[in-house]
């Protein structure tokens, strides 16, 4: 399993004026579960193709365990990839599909080794029951498991790239495939890069998440860090449903503004719907008026709602078990917030 | 796309040369007078003349032949496509009693050897007084081009989601408005490919065209075979006529080239 290092790697399509991928440096350590999160069009696929060798970077170098692989084609980088839709050799059985990567590259392994290896991977992904079924006659869920198996069967695989692998799987069983994949990654200690636009998949799978937007990596950090302490307003907005609220400091009440002066003197304040406490008008200095109410369900017997509030001419969302009606004046106490100045984090307060 | 291995690239190049040589030779023959051809063997025509081409364009036997050929090809294509459109729409949208059997029966007609129909066509068309007219040849060719058109159009049409038909109904459009203003324009590339395949069959066919025409509607293909059997073959003129018959094909192919490949697969020819 390799350590992946990107040194100022950038890419611009021929004739395109803006860079598809701005030069970036990134480190994925040996055997790490890493995920790449970004909306469609953020440049995820370009970065994926640079790692897999389909595209050559227009700037910067790529190192696998300190070996410069920038010029090498995919096949020479000993990596494997799992695609959005299961890619199998239709004319082979499941077992043959799993064994195939071991029979190529002139590695004349003896059949016993191959069978052993295939059995081990099949057990890890609990698909040993369908080994001699035709690759065409199994469910979509099983097909993707076989594709993952094929990526893991080679002992010398440097890294496994996963390109939104759950797209074709029905929603109800997605969590089971995620669990199997995470288990296999931990047991086999394979370096894995999981590319997706879905935050649940990114935050669940990875020890470290890189958030990508407009061809730039805005932040790389642990799931808690990236969610609780976003370094960019975009990261705060992109993660969470609904995303982080933002209020300009200038419109906040004097008392709050004074305190913020020496907490990084932010220009805008970001806080999550669940990090604000809603109560009757006057209780706290930040005030607003209820503009919408959406019930989420009940918690400990009380009805939980997502309130839309109008603070000046800005709208924010606050999650609360209070029962208010549209038009009620309310006040908000911020238990946890992050301060931003032109989009970059300058301060934060309160630990969740 | 496919890994274009070296060998296949060389074979492709070789085949292109193999394709071009006879056509090149046809052209050189067309540029040389008959006496010149009989005289010396030349790789490159030393004294090329356009006499043969002029002969084709002036001699009524020749250009009348072309006119006749084009008339029945156009007639056939019009009939085939206009008849095949409703049928293909119905095959792609509805399941009805005997639809698969009908589709198979149509296919067998496409595959029927023309020679089998020489005899009956000859009698059929003379009995209804259509012998020696372009319509006779056009209708005879319909036996082969209509099934082909239905097959290709159905292939393309089943690629258009049925929700579009539903949407038009919900918007309040009549079937006719939907069919002419929405459905046909969406399938215009399919119609283009179908015209190519109809043209391809009707323009090249000789047997039926010869049997069903006398002197009046004699197509170019027949005119060419007639001169072959005459004494003292005039190779130059024949080659020039040959060049003229190749040109329409190239034109048609150029117009439908993007959709051609798609047509082959969907058309399943």
């Amino acid at each position: 399993m390799a350590r992946i290092r990107l040194d100022g790697v950038g890419f611009t399509y021929l004739g395109a004026d803006a860079a598809t991928l701005a030069p970036l440096s990134m480190d994925i350590s040996h055997g790490e579960a890493f995920s790449l999160l970004g909306a469609s069009g953020a440049g995820k696929t370009t970065l994926l193709n640079l790692l897999s060798g389909i595209l050559q970077p227009t700037r910067g170098r790529i190192y696998f365990d300190d070996v410069d692989v920038t010029g090498l084609p995919g096949r020479a980088r000993h990596l494997a990839q799992v695609f959005q839709f299961p890619v199998l050799y239709q004319s082979m059985t499941v077992g043959e599909n799993l064994a195939f990567p071991l029979t190529t590259r002139g590695l004349n392994r003896n059949p016993a080794d191959i069978a052993l290896r295939v059995k081990a991977v099949a057990e890890e992904l609990n698909i040993e029951g369908i080994l001699n079924r035709g690759a065409n006659g199994i469910s979509l869920f099983e097909k993707q498991l076989v594709a993952i198996g094929r990526a893991l069967v080679r002992p010398d695989v440097s890294m496994v790239l996963l390109d939104e692998p759950l797209t074709a799987v029905e929603p109800s069983v997605k969590w089971r495939l995620r669990q199997t994949l995470k288990q296999a990654q931990r047991d086999l200690g394979v370096t894995m890069v999981y590319v997706t636009h879905d935050q649940t998949e990114a935050l669940t799978f990875a020890e470290r998440v890189a958030v990508l937007a407009d061809g730039e990596i805005l932040q790389t950090g642990s799931p808690e860090d990236v969610y609780q302490n976003p370094t960019h307003e975009f990261v705060g907005h992109f993660l969470g449903s609904p995303g982080m609220n933002f209020l300009p400091v200038a419109e906040l009440p004097e008392t709050l503004r004074h305190r913020l002066k020496h907490q990084g003197d932010p220009e805008r304040l970001g806080f999550r719907p669940e990090s604000a406490k809603l109560s009757a008008a006057g209780a706290f200095d930040l005030t607003g008026v209820v503009s919408s109410r959406r019930i989420l369900g009940t918690q400990q017997g009380d009805v939980i709602s997502m309130y839309g509030l109008q603070c000046g001419d800005h709208s924010v969302f606050v999650r609360s078990s209070a029962s208010q009606v549209v038009g009620d004046p309310v006040s908000i106490d911020l238990r946890h917030w992050v301060g931003f100045r032109n989009g970059i984090r300058v301060g934060r307060h309160g630990a969740e | 796309m496919s890994r274009r291995s070296r060998i296949s690239r060389w074979v492709l190049l070789g085949y292109c040369v193999y394709l071009i040589l006879p056509l090149y030779w046809l052209l050189t023959m067309a540029l040389r007078s008959n006496a010149d051809i009989a005289g010396t063997f030349e790789l490159l025509p030393s004294s090329p003349t356009l006499a043969n081409f002029a002969e084709i364009l002036t001699n009524p036997v020749w250009y009348q032949g072309f006119a006749n050929s084009l008339s029945y090809v156009v007639l056939n294509t019009l009939i085939s496509v206009s008849v095949a459109l409703p049928a293909a729409y119905v095959f792609s949208r509805y399941r009805f009693l005997g639809d698969r059997q009908l589709f198979f029966w149509l296919l067998t007609n496409r595959m029927a050897p023309p020679a089998v129909f020489l005899l009956p066509f000859f009698q059929l068309y003379s009995s209804i007084g259509l012998f020696d007219t372009p319509l006779a040849v056009a209708l005879a060719h319909c036996l082969f081009t209509v099934p082909l058109s239905v097959w290709i159009l159905e292939g393309f049409m089943s690629g258009v989601p049925t929700e579009i038909d539903d949407m038009a109904r919900i918007d309040g459009h009549s079937f006719w408005f939907f069919f002419t203003r929405i459905f046909l324009p969406i399938n215009r590339s399919a119609i283009g490919v179908t015209v190519f395949f109809c043209f391809m069959f009707s323009w090249v066919e000789l047997l039926l065209a010869r049997t069903l025409t006398g002197s009046e509607a004699k197509p170019i293909v027949v005119v060419m075979t007639r001169t072959v059997s005459a004494s003292g073959m005039d190779w130059g003129v024949l080659a020039a006529a040959g060049v003229f018959t190749v040109l329409p094909g190239i034109l048609v192919v150029w117009f439908v080239r993007q959709h051609l490949v798609k047509g082959f697969v969907l058309g399943r020819v």
């Binding site: 909306a39 469609s40 029905e170 969590w175 995620r178 669990q179 995470k182 288990q183 636009h197 879905d198 935050q199 649940t200 935050l203 669940t204 799931p223 808690e224 969610y227 609780q228 992109f238 993660l239 969470g240 449903s241 609904p242 995303g243 999550r272 719907p273 669940e274 959406r294 019930i295 989420l296 369900g297 009940t298 918690q299 400990q300 017997g301 009805v303 999650r319 969740e352 | 989601p161 929700e163 579009i164 539903d166 949407m167 038009a168 109904r169 919900i170 918007d171 309040g172 459009h173 009549s174 408005f177 929405i182 324009p185 969406i186």
Partner: protein
């Protein structure tokens, strides 16, 4: 008032049901795959479908009318637009069918395109637009028809995660202004809460239950109805003395509290032991998957999912205590 009588969504009498859609309000039809949602939409619109039954609007029967003569507009799950027409022509399509004058059409197209944020794409054709914009176009066309009934068949399911969230809010504002009776089908209970004045639960072409989102959430008629209103579905509890055989007891994933959370177990709560299998985190919520063994028989284990707001770091492969409030436990009929 839009009514359906003796409707059988898969064509067989056994599943027939009646339902009247609250006029001028939005009804969310909630059901999983193959529950008959799409067949219901096609029946209301008059499109060919296996479903049968009588449809009437303000006591006028629509059953035998073709779609052209019903004032019903539809937005399909796939983004269906006429590829050979421009965005403007697509929106104008129902107006053309209604024979409105050019000026009226122009004016309506512009205002609808503006409200749906596709104002500056009017002369493009649909394929050039993004998925979200193509669906906005389909919605604009449906609104242009100004029909009495507006049907949206899982319109956002093919969209990107963040886009779906934004469009649900937009749709809520947009659809609350129209007087039309709106029917919105979905398989996600969040849509029921976000959009539904009323909720109709469907499963295998049968009507399970109907009512306001909160009613159906708090008093599910049976196990299937309970499952539909939670994503992931409810956790089953082992039976205790005094329950009839047919009953079953269950608790919603969001009503189970993790032992690791501050408050100790109160006497109003029951405790359970869970063997944690895996933990899923989406940032604002954490899902803990595991196996809970029934107190009576040690060998019978139920697969449970615990859904907690916020980020919780839970170690996998550990045993964890869970607390459930007695009044959160649902006693359900299993039919």
């Amino acid at each position: 008032m839009l009514r359906v009588d003796r409707v059988c969504l898969d064509g067989n009498e056994a599943t027939a049901f009646d339902y009247s859609f609250a006029p001028g309000e939005m009804t969310v039809v909630l059901g999983g795959n193959l529950s008959g949602k799409t067949n219901l939409c096609r029946l209301l619109a008059g499109l060919p479908t296996r479903a049968c039954g009588d449809v009437s609007y303000k006591e006028q029967p629509l059953t035998d009318l073709p779609p052209q003569q019903r004032s019903v507009a539809v937005v399909f799950q796939a983004f269906v637009n006429y590829p050979n027409w421009t965005v403007a022509q697509n929106i104008a399509s129902p107006l053309i069918a209604q024979g409105l004058s050019r000026e009226v059409q122009e004016q309506k197209i512009r205002s609808l395109a503006q409200t749906l944020g596709i104002g500056d794409f009017l002369d493009r054709n649909p394929e050039e637009l993004s998925g979200g914009q193509q669906q906005r176009l389909a919605i604009a066309r449906a609104l242009a028809q100004q029909a009495d009934v507006l049907v949206l068949d899982e319109p956002l399911v093919n969209l990107d995660y963040k886009l779906r969230e934004a469009l649900v809010l937009e749709l809520k504002a947009l659809l609350s202004e129209t007087q039309a009776t709106v029917i919105y089908t979905s398989s996600d209970p969040r849509d029921a809460f976000a959009l539904g004045d009323q909720v109709l639960l469907l499963e295998k072409n049968r009507k399970l239950q109907a009512g306001t989102p909160l009613e159906v959430y708090q008093q599910p008629a049976n196990l299937a109805a309970a499952h539909l209103m939670s994503d992931p579905g409810v956790n089953r509890l082992p039976l205790i003395k005094g329950d009839e055989a047919g009953d079953c007891r269950a608790v919603r994933p969001e009503h189970v509290r993790l032992g690791s959370e501050a408050a100790p177990s109160a006497d109003t709560e029951l405790d359970f032991e869970m063997q944690v299998d895996s933990v899923e985190r989406s940032g604002d919520e954490t899902f803990v998957h595991g196996r809970v063994n029934a107190t009576e028989r040690a060998d019978v284990t139920e697969h449970w999912v615990v859904r907690r707001p916020g980020m919780h770091s839970v170690e996998e492969r550990q045993v964890m205590t869970l607390h459930v409030r007695r009044d959160d436990i649902l006693t359900l009929v299993v039919d």
